[in-house]
């Protein structure tokens, strides 16, 4: 114990300038970050207040991490584990005491200020409560596994700060190169190849690649944190106990390679298309289905076909097929995770969107929510133009499959928008940002709130006009997410959700709406209840003539 304290004191004396710098950056973060939501004098002085505070806050968050890298490098390299000429190697250090002293240093000068800063930020955000403690601890676990232990591990296998910085830079460049390669190849090499599947995994859940398109119930942060913590922890222990530098370097290098290989193997064997959906989205009987689909063209429900280019620049024909949706139970909402459209011609020709990359904006619900009273539901798909030319004279059989995630409303909070924060239990605190068009700025502790339907009356006229002249319009937004991990990995424990209806596409026009104080607003939270698929077959289908006015590029299959 004496040796632990002795080494800890020495490190504290040695690193006091870096400690002071790190504490100052953390203190600056605590002072500046709340300007995103606090109406303080300094906020106006910053210009566009929340934006500048956000930029400054992000920079300071980055600087906190940089100061941690510096501190970790300094204390580990003070007794460098690489090489044979270090003074301490021939002194009676107990490796356990040495390691313990370093860990205590990290606890005292990294974790303690972080916890205090996070608590202060939550306090200033009005979000501090005992219920946030598990989330704070979970976040600390994520920070340990994903940031601190890997940094300590890299420090133990490098000789000095510059070599460590070089190794970190290499790791970042490797990661960026892999992501760029996956993204470029995934989009440009056609569908249903390994890159394409890797892209799906990277977008959805690489650690535990879901058989699903939404990662409900998966603990991807925790899995990654545990994986990195285990490997990094093993490296740190091995280095301090045995100083097996090359072995430890090999282990650290093998980690991203193993993750990449694991991802590729998973991608290779992962289910895709209809098989994937059949696995995770059971087909229910008509009575048990959460929704009923029908097809019928009328004045409101029109088929639209247009010509355009897809993401790869290839000529395509886009088609929107309107749907009649009914029998959605009260208090139920649905996310369309994926849709597959299959076209069959009388001569045996068959074409399907099965292998396409679905749009994985999981919670972009206004574009995905299937409710007959909200705009016109329609399924959209793209087909290579040459194929379209071949089949456009019809008749065709169209099979539509929707993979749905079902949600059930849990509780609703009704409020009138005040000029200051409105507290929504289980959601967070929201205030109207009066600059610009007026949006609802919400903040929550540690993670995005549970998926919530925010319904409000939005004005199509500026808020400044007389109240009786306001042209109100009903608007719905869906902030939040379904994942229930208690915290998002991050230094700042506050998540922001901007609920806006500034730009709305409706009736083929863009609208700019305004959220004004005094407007009624309802927050309805939803929970996940299950998944299913519904199918619709349209016989004797004919494409109408192209509509040049609709030439807007889109991709993926979604219901509008």
């Amino acid at each position: 114990m004496n040796q632990i304290v002795h080494i800890f004191r020495k490190d504290t004396r040695h690193c006091w300038p870096e400690i002071v710098l790190s504490l100052a950056i953390t203190a600056a973060l605590v002072c500046i970050y709340p300007l995103r939501w606090l109406a303080l004098p300094g906020r106006d002085a910053l210009g566009t207040p929340s934006m500048n505070a956000a930029v400054l806050g992000t920079m300071l968050t980055g600087l906190v991490v940089v100061s941690w890298v510096m501190l970790i490098a300094r204390i580990v390299h003070a007794e460098s584990l690489v090489g044979v000429s270090q003074f301490w190697l021939t002194r009676p250090y107990e490796w356990k005491s040495l390691l313990a002293a370093k860990l205590i240093f990290i606890a005292v000068f990294l974790y303690l200020p972080l916890i205090v800063a996070q608590w202060l930020l939550l306090y200033m955000a009005g979000l501090n409560s005992a219920s946030t403690i598990p989330g704070l601890l979970f976040n600390l676990l994520l920070i340990t596994g994903l940031l601190v232990l890997p940094l300590v591990a890299i420090a133990t296998v490098t000789e000095n700060f510059f070599r460590m910085a070089f190794a970190l830079l290499g790791a970042v460049l490797m990661g960026v190169a892999a992501l760029v390669a996956i993204t470029v190849q995934g989009y440009s090499n056609g569908y249903n190849n390994i890159w394409n599947r890797l892209l799906l995994l990277a977008m959805d859940n690489l650690a535990a690649p879901a058989h699903s398109l939404t990662s409900i119930g998966h603990h991807k942060q925790l899995l990654f944190a545990l994986l990195f913590a285990t490997v990094s922890g093993a490296v740190v222990l091995l280095q301090y106990a045995r100083r097996k530098t090359w072995l430890c370097r090999a282990i650290l290098l093998a980690l991203p390679i193993a993750v990449a290989i694991g991802g590729m193997v998973k991608a290779h064997y992962a289910l895709s298309g209809q098989a994937l959906i059949d696995h995770d989205y059971p087909k229910l009987s008509t009575d048990a289905a959460p929704i009923r689909l029908a097809y019928g063209v009328d004045e409101k429900h029109q088929i639209i076909v247009f010509r355009g280019k897809n993401n790869s620049g290839a000529l395509i024909a886009g088609a929107r097929i309107p749907l009649h949706v009914s029998e959605i139970a009260e208090g139920t909402a649905l996310i369309v995770d994926h849709s597959i459209v299959t076209l069959e011609a009388a001569d045996g020709f068959r074409w399907s969107t099965e292998g396409s990359i679905p749009t994985l904006q999981k919670y972009d619900l206004p574009g995905r929510r299937v409710r007959d009273d909200y705009d016109v539901p329609q399924v959209f798909f793209e087909i290579p133009y040459a194929l379209y030319e071949r089949i456009k004279t019809g008749p065709l059989t169209v099979r539509i499959m929707l993979a749905l995630t079902q949600l059930q409303a849990t509780n609703s909070v009704h409020a009138t928008l005040p000029t200051h924060d409105v507290a929504v239990p289980g959601f967070g605190l929201c205030e109207v940002e009066t600059a610009g068009y007026g949006t609802l700025q919400c903040r929550s502790a540690l993670r995005e709130p549970q998926l919530t339907d925010v319904s409000a009356s939005w004005s199509t006229t500026p808020c400044a006009v007389a109240e009786d002249e306001l042209l109100l319009n009903h608007g719905i937004q869906w902030p939040g997410q379904l994942d229930r991990e208690p915290a998002e990995f991050g230094i700042v424990p506050i998540q922001f959700a901007e609920v806006t209806y500034d730009w709305a596409y409706q009736d083929r026009k863009f609208w700019m709406d305004h959220l004004c104080t005094g407007a009624p607003i309802t927050f309805t939270q939803y929970k996940y209840t299950g998944r299913s698929q519904v199918n619709l077959t349209i016989s004797n289908f004919y494409f109408p003539p192209e509509d040049p006015a609709s030439n807007i590029d889109h991709s993926g299959g979604m219901v509008h």
Binding site: Q3, R13, A78, V84, F87, T90, P92
Partner: protein, 318 residues
Amino acid sequence: MITPSIATHALTRMYGSQTALDAVTLSVEPGSVYALVGPNGAGKTTLIQLIMNLQPATSGSAQLLGLPSSQIRGAALNRIGYVAESQELPEWMTVEALLDYLRPFYPAWDRELEAQLLRDFALPMKGKLKHLSRGMKMKAAFIGALSYRPALLVLDEPFTGLDPLVRDELIQGLLERIGETTLFLSSHDLAEIESFASHVGYLEQGRLLFSEEMTTLSNRFRKVEFAVDPASTPPPKLPPVWMEFERAGSLVRFIHSQFATEEETRAEIEALFPTAREVAFAPMPLRSIFLANARTHRASRAQFESGVAAVSTQGGRA
């Protein structure tokens, strides 16, 4: 039986296919001053790093104070001191801070001895190590290694690059510890260790050519000169213990590496050179002994390698 302070058995270290240390076996008696000498690159530092557990041996074993070298860490280092020319000190510390930091690590730290060494070495307490000269840094390292009265002090090229005055001060400091501390030091400068080493080992290209007491070593090497009839033919084969044999006209000169008595050697000479006369014997300084050994070893190695090359070339042609 007294446990040797250091004992190695067939200690070997390979770097890839290159042999840095080749099956070195030696023993250092407690209380002795063992000087490990050899040219640069001979493997002295490698040997010291192996016995100090700074790097692992490829094969063989080493023991320090009865402990396997693989266990030389933690509390085992309470009784072992180590100073190396290449050692990195915490240069941000002052001498005072360094000693304050080291003291609690050693239960046997002797503050009086520390104070005495500080006085003897005239070391400034407040200056940061990074601002001190090389000699001053080495003095600080010595105080940090002597003040807990280690049973064994291992020094790797401790005097390299030091001015004579500092070197003498350090040697004086070491001489005062002789008896209570076994000294094991490496050096490529023979003159600096000749005055106080009791034992000596000679490393050449990773191989320990000899390891023995200084007096024995001095006694068994003699420079021999004699005259012969210029017309006489030399014997076809000379004894292997005759090193650096030279003949210039009537004068013959060589170094006898297994000298016992003048009478025996004279008889040996007369058996090979019947016309030999005016045989003279001269003791050799340590420096000359090592130079003779180094030259002989290199010449025989070169001869061996050229022989191997010739054989392999012939084999290739065949």
